[in-house]
């Protein structure tokens, strides 16, 4: 019995040993199997996965900006395939002195852009460019590096050769006619009714004992129309000084006022009436457009001038001024190169100098041969332009009908 118990205890021991060994072996095998497998991650929806980078632009080209002051490079590229993607945030242009490294941000361009002008490139040093596309997540993908380009300033703008040729012809024509006039040649100038009427208008004001109002526009002294108006003012002032008629000149620009005071003063001195000049009659009103209109209209209504002259550059105030002048019964003569204001002056004024007639007025009124020579020079260039227009119309018509090649047209038109 005791022997049986011993055998049973031994069998249990062996069984326990074998079972423990098998369990341990199973545990080791299981652990080894687990360690050999990929780590298991939780499933992630496709929409939250890391985004792919956008397609980079291709064909990056660079050139030194032509006819510029320097430090400028034009960068062009072909649109990224993802240009219209919602994630697309724009193009970023990078510059470096080395083709591989050191690229710094130069500027950005929006969706659909294929050009960028870098205005901070170093002069006379080769640089390289890359164009990157950026996405909403902050990702950035770079294009291939461009060829080297060197920004440089130019000493002559060859886009303006045509203007230079025209100016040269113009200068030659003016100098020729001025010299001809100095030599005593008679120059025919067509009648300008508005300017012929200036003498009558001054005479009328004198007879009525009323002042003349001279308005030289709202522009500054840097506007050629204002200078033309000042030139006319000098001639008008001589006449008012001769007739001893009051001349009122409200100014919208302080520099114009200073010049006009000097011009009127000189005109009065020239005709021997310096004592008739009243500095308070050439005065500053305001720079503000409609405050100026209110001031001038007030003068018109209170002073009732017999004659009002509008010469120079005018804007939206032209009709308000001219209609008020018409309402007080003044003779009105206008002259402006503002094409949009011409219809208003033509409607409301008795005489209107259209465009270039404003610039001819000083020469016309003074009848100085040298100034008239300048007018003939203008006419010469106008004739040349007229001939060129006719020739180009004929050539364009022939090209359109296929009678001549379109290539023939190319050198005729420089469109810069």
């Amino acid at each position: 019995m005791g022997h049986d118990r011993g055998r049973l205890r031994g069998a249990r021991f062996v069984t326990g040993f074998v079972a423990g060994t098998l369990a341990a072996a199973a545990l080791v095998v299981c652990a080894a199997t687990l360690s050999a497998q990929e780590p298991i991650e939780p499933a992630v929806p496709e929409s939250l996965a890391a985004p792919e980078l956008l397609a980079v632009p291709t064909g990056v080209q660079v050139e030194d900006t032509p006819n510029d002051r320097g430090a400028s490079v034009n960068v062009t590229w072909e649109l990224s395939a993802d240009d219209e993607s919602l994630r697309f945030e724009g193009y970023r242009v990078y510059r470096s002195a080395h083709p591989e490294t050191g690229f710094v941000f130069a500027g950005r361009a929006g969706r659909g852009a294929t050009t960028y002008r870098d205005s901070e490139a170093p002069n006379n040093e080769p640089v390289y460019y890359r164009v990157a596309v950026g996405d909403a997540e902050g990702g950035e993908a770079f294009s291939a590096t461009s060829d080297a380009v060197t920004a440089s300033p130019q000493w002559f703008n060859d886009d303006r050769v045509n203007v230079l040729i025209a100016v040269f012809i113009f200068v030659v024509a003016i100098v020729y006619f001025v010299n001809a006039a100095r030599g005593g040649k008679e120059l025919f100038i067509r009648r300008l009714a508005g300017l012929d009427e200036v003498d009558n208008a001054v005479g009328r004001a004198t007879e009525m004992g009323k002042p003349i109002l001279y308005i030289s526009g709202l522009s500054t002294i840097s506007d050629v129309a204002t200078i033309a108006a000042i030139n006319i003012l000098g001639e008008v002032a001589k006449r008012t000084a001769e007739y001893n008629t009051r001349l009122i000149v409200p100014c919208a620009d302080p520099i114009v006022m200073a010049v006009e005071q000097e011009v009127v003063k000189e005109a009065y001195a020239k005709v021997g009436r310096p004592d008739s000049y009243n500095e308070d009659d050439v005065f500053y009103l305001t720079r503000s457009q409609f405050a100026y209109v209110a001031g001038v209209n007030g003068i018109m209504v209170r002073q009732r001038p017999a004659t009002i002259l509008y010469m120079g550059m005018f804007f939206a105030e032209s009709l308000v001024l001219a209609e008020t002048g018409a309402s007080v019964g003044a003779i009105q003569i206008a002259g402006t190169d503002a094409v949009t204001q011409l219809p208003f002056f033509i409607t409301s004024c008795d005489y209107t100098l259209i465009g270039e007639e404003l610039y001819a007025a000083s020469a016309y009124l003074s009848r100085e041969p040298v100034l008239l020579g300048g007018l003939k020079g203008q006419d010469t260039l106008k004739f040349i332009i007229g001939v060129l227009i006719v020739i180009t119309v004929i050539v364009a018509t022939l090209a359109a009908t296929g009678a001549i090649s379109n290539d023939f047209m190319t050198p005729l038109f420089i469109t810069h």
């Binding site: 000493w155 302080p254 503000s288 409609f290 939206a316 465009g355 610039y359």
Partner: protein, 209 residues
């Protein structure tokens, strides 16, 4: 010397300005930019001249008891009130500052009122222009009627030809005339500038003597 110096300065700076149009190099453009800055500085001083002129003219009117001197009082009241309000607030452009309030609530509406008068003046000028007394005025009247009709839906309702005629009037005869005027203006400006630079035209400095 009183005349030679301005003429010489005019020639030098005139020729330089003409040359810089053809020379884009930064060394030349740098100088051109300095010139423009000088011009701005001059302008700032010129406003002082203008203010002095304004005060002087209106002071003389008050002193001489001119019939319309009441307006001079208004000018002084406006001028000194705005100067005073400008000093009260450290940043007179700031929203809510007394200066800005006066500008926005007094000057701007008054100017807008003046501008709005244009509508009435357009009507009175149109009435005068469209009286068909001459051939030109009749043509103007017909063209204006077509253009106005062509710009509103009723023109198209009457006939689709009306908007087409409007476009033709604006793009062919109207544009042709405009371009003709503009070519003349361009040449006139060039000739005037050239005559001033060369000292041929001297009316701007008081005459030719």
């Amino acid at each position: 010397m009183r005349r030679q110096l301005p003429l010489a300065l005019c020639f030098i700076f005139g020729v330089f300005t003409a040359i810089q149009y053809y020379v884009p190099h930064f060394r030349v453009q740098w100088f051109q930019e300095r010139l423009l800055q000088w011009l701005m500085t001059l302008l700032a001083f010129a406003f002082l001249l203008g203010t002095v002129s304004l005060i002087k003219v209106h002071y003389h009117k008050l002193r001489d008891r001119a019939p319309d001197r009441g307006f001079s009082l208004v000018v002084f009241a406006g001028l000194f009130t705005m100067i005073g309000l400008g000093f009260i607030h450290p940043d007179h452009h700031a929203p809510g500052s007394p200066f800005n309030q006066m500008f926005l609530n007094v000057q701007v509406p008054i100017e807008a009122t003046m501008f709005s008068l244009l509508a009435f003046y357009v009507a009175s000028a149109a009435f005068r222009a469209f009286r068909a007394r001459t051939l030109e005025a009749t043509l103007l009247l017909i063209a204006a009627a077509i253009v106005m009709l062509g710009r509103v839906p009723i023109g198209d309702l009457i006939s689709p030809k009306i908007p087409e005629a409007t476009r033709w009037i604006l793009e062919v005869p109207n544009l042709t005339a405009k371009r003709g005027v503009m070519i003349g203006v361009g040449l006139g400006m060039m000739a005037t500038a050239l005559k001033i630079m060369l000292g041929i035209e001297r009316a701007w400095m008081g005459g030719s003597d």
